[in-house]
């Protein structure tokens, strides 16, 4: 057991830190909420440029193969860079679904042609990706999806509807799951397509979320003709390919978000220092100290549970169902941090941006509301518990 870094890794840390110090956009913290993990609509253009800069400096795709724009490094380097990004409170990556999911999945299943065509443009943010899994009648029970793809010569003709599709309104491509064999058992007849969002028949309608923002959308697919070369990982093999994506999604959550969690927690402690109750700072209140310390402990626990997961990866094991545990811990801890922010603000928690009385310009109100989605997006907490129960503990299916 050794948690120390090699001198090369320490050098990488110093390098990324210096780069961030020199290049961090100063107006960022003022313009958009510093502690938000979610790219907010008004910042998309800015975030596109930011990701491009990050890519050109070599801070994205560290573990991806060199020939596709990556650096061929290990997860430790990736973690180091994530830590520094979080410490600097740098802006989030806009093409997060591409970097976190589409890219790794294409690298794992794609043909050489597909890898050459898509992978590096994901990193550079030249092409933004969205994830077309959920449908109006299938969310948790994803394998029941009904979007149909019917073979027509070299093409597939696709009809159906996707929903809750984050970033579809700015996306160039979609990771699309569609049913190619309606007669096969439900997990068997699904195919994974790389869908060009500009094809005729693709219609995107933004949906407003409870935060007021519209990050996700409905996507209607009406006789969309997709060429056979856009199938990823083989016809009717979409379930296995799609699960790989989900595993990477949860892994990406574990990496990126644990470090951001710590930053959010630091912000919470600052908040508690400056808010008073009955004439004294909340950090002097014994009950509040207990709650803050517990969140600190939980955040650290996630860090070291993550480190054990990374060690497994470094020893050549694949990300497995354990990633579900990491996602669950992150969700729970983050939601409790956001709840506590509201408790600390007390009656001021009711005020949103626009009021001079709003604490920290009302930024915690947005992050608090946004955190409600955490236990739904990327697979609900109930589903994660099923996965842990069945695939880690070996309990019978329900």
């Amino acid at each position: 057991m050794d948690l120390s870094l090699t001198s090369e890794q320490e050098a990488l840390r110093a390098e990324v830190r210096a780069w961030l110090q020199a290049n961090m956009p100063r107006e960022w913290t003022r313009r958009v909420m510093a502690s938000s993990d979610v790219p907010r609509p008004e910042a998309y253009d800015f975030l596109r440029t930011w990701q491009r800069q990050m890519y050109e400096a070599g801070w994205i795709g560290l573990t991806w193969p060199r020939e596709y724009g990556g650096r061929g490094l290990s997860f430790v380097e990736e973690l180091v860079v994530h830590q520094e990004i979080a410490l600097a409170k740098a802006p989030p990556i806009l093409n997060i679904l591409g970097v976190g999911m589409a890219g790794p999945t294409i690298i794992a299943y794609g043909t050489d042609e597909q890898k050459r065509r898509y992978v590096s443009k994901i990193l550079s943010c030249e092409e933004i990706w969205c994830q077309g899994y959920s449908e109006p009648n299938s969310g948790s029970d994803l394998a029941s999806l009904q979007t149909r793809a019917v073979k027509d010569g070299e093409y597939w003709v696709i009809n159906g509807q996707k929903v809750w599709t984050s970033l579809a309104h700015v996306a160039d491509f979609m990771m699309l799951l569609a049913r190619t064999d309606p007669n096969a058992p439900k997990h068997k007849g699904i195919t994974y397509f790389l869908l060009d969002m500009r094809l005729p028949g693709v219609t995107v309608k933004p949906l407003r979320q409870l935060t007021g923002d519209a990050e996700f959308n409905e996507v209607f697919l009406d006789n969309v003709r997709v060429h056979g070369s856009q199938v990823l990982g083989g016809v009717d093999n979409g379930w296995a390919v799609g699960l790989t994506t989900l595993m990477y999604e949860r892994l990406a959550l574990g990496f990126g978000l644990q470090v951001r969690l710590r930053i959010t927690l630091d912000g919470l402690v600052e908040l508690a220092r400056k808010m008073e109750k009955n004439g004294r700072a909340l950090t002097h209140d014994p009950v509040m100290r207990q709650k803050l310390a517990q969140l600190w402990i939980d955040t650290e626990a996630l860090k070291y549970t993550g480190a054990r997961g990374i060690t497994k990866l470094l020893r050549g094991q694949m990300p497995g169902p354990e990633a579900s545990a990491g996602k669950m811990i992150w969700v729970d801890t983050h939601q409790r941090i956001q709840e506590l922010a509201m408790e600390i603000e007390g009656p001021y928690a009711q005020l949103t941006p626009g009021s001079d009385w709003a604490v920290d310009g009302g930024m915690w109100q947005y992050t608090f509301l946004r955190s409600r989605a955490n236990s739904i997006e990327g697979g609900t907490t109930e589903i994660q518990k099923n996965i842990i129960g069945e695939r880690v503990l070996g309990l019978p299916k329900d």
Partner: protein
């Protein structure tokens, strides 16, 4: 970076698991619960032969010279077996105190004997005031003519009834700062005026005593470390012992989870194994998450202690706070998910449930350690 166990450590785990499965069966544990000693000479000798009594002691004192990460592996297995006896109290409290602060002569005399299984040393620290801070130390040691006279009562002292000697933590000087003026003394168990009374305890696998000092006279060379400045070394001992305790708790928690999942696969209700019901499955998933986090924090604490990291006290308190709550909840959930059978004396679950309660209050419960975390992160 590597946050996993080595091949040697995995081998130690396999060896230990097999050893305890053979030597520390449920029947053995229950026999020890029923009698005051809580250990047999035969079992203790076997632990010594395995080299486990001196695992973390330096080779010059008859030990193996391994670290706390190695110890973590061993103690997880001890916890899994709900092992009775004075391993924790002798090896990680009394013995470690002498090793940490003792003179060359004391170390030579005692540490090697502990490692060889020839002597047991208890640590008498906590008192009826049930405090874990320095102000809780009120037993006095008055100096007169080059000797000291100890008076007062120690409570919750693990295995003092088995000890050949007891390290007694006493106050040699009143001071505005309670951390000052604390001294450790190595007192022979048969010293005149020293009375040890076994306490009836909920967890019968771990014996506790009341230790009363009525004008117990000891010479100056009974001091372990230096006069008036015993608090710092004591804290170091407690922090390291707490890592071992947390590891033992993780092992117990894992065992409860294992028993519960096995049972949930075979127990049928309404025509299906109960593990198919989400009320059961999701609770088991919650247990797993807590076990994993508990281990992660414990391993980190063990590593920090081995590295002498300045973060070690924080790491230890994070671990003990988390594990205290986790083991208690997991053991409770284990009973719940077993139904009636889980509430019987015959089933082993209650051994873990009771051990969880004992361990929770050994050297600081979650509330105490969370406040210590708050202080250490400068809240």
């Amino acid at each position: 970076m590597n946050f996993g166990f080595s091949e040697e450590q995995e081998l130690l785990r396999a060896t230990a698991r097999k050893f305890f499965e053979n030597e520390c069966t449920s029947t053995f544990v229950r026999d020890r619960m029923a009698e005051p000693a809580g250990v047999t000479d035969d079992f203790w000798t076997k632990l010594a032969e395995q080299g486990w009594l001196g695992l973390v002691y330096p080779e010059e004192y008859g030990g193996t010279g391994l670290g706390f990460v190695d110890l973590t592996v061993l103690m997880e297995e001890m916890g899994r077996a709900s092992m009775p006896g004075p391993f924790f109290s002798t090896v990680l409290l009394g013995g470690l105190a002498v090793l940490e602060a003792g003179s060359a002569a004391q170390k030579k005399e005692w540490v090697a004997k502990v490692a060889a299984g020839q002597a047991k040393i208890a640590l008498a620290w906590t008192e009826p005031n049930a405090r874990w801070d320095a102000a809780g130390v009120t037993v006095t040691a008055r100096e007169a003519g080059g000797a000291f006279t100890l008076s007062g009562t120690k409570l919750f002292v693990l295995d003092a009834h088995l000890a050949d000697a007891i390290v007694v933590v006493a106050r040699t000087r009143e001071s505005a700062r309670p951390e000052e003026g604390i001294t450790m003394f190595l007192v022979p168990r048969n010293a005149s005026g020293l009375d040890v009374k076994l306490l009836p305890t909920m967890d019968q696998t771990r014996k506790q005593c009341e230790v009363t000092c009525k004008d117990v006279r000891v010479p100056a060379d009974a001091i372990v470390g230096s006069k008036d400045s015993g608090w710092a070394p004591l804290q170091r001992v407690i922090d390291r012992a707490t890592v071992g305790l947390a590891a033992e708790m993780c092992g117990g928690a894992q065992r409860v989870l294992d028993m519960t999942t096995e049972y949930a696969k075979i127990r049928v209700a309404f025509g299906r194994p109960i593990g198919a019901y989400q009320g059961v499955k999701h609770r088991a998933a919650d247990m797993l998450v807590e076990v994993e986090n508990a281990k992660s924090l414990t391993y980190y604490a063990a590593w920090a202690v081995d590295e002498n990291s300045p973060e070690a006290p924080l790491a230890v308190s994070m671990a003990k706070a988390y594990v205290s709550d986790a083991f208690r909840r997991i053991a409770g959930a284990g009973i719940q998910l077993h139904g009636g059978i889980g509430f019987t004396w015959e089933h082993d679950l209650h051994l873990y449930f009771k051990r969880a309660k004992n361990s929770e209050f050994t050297f600081g419960d979650a509330t105490y350690h969370r406040e210590r975390v708050a202080q250490l992160i400068q809240l």
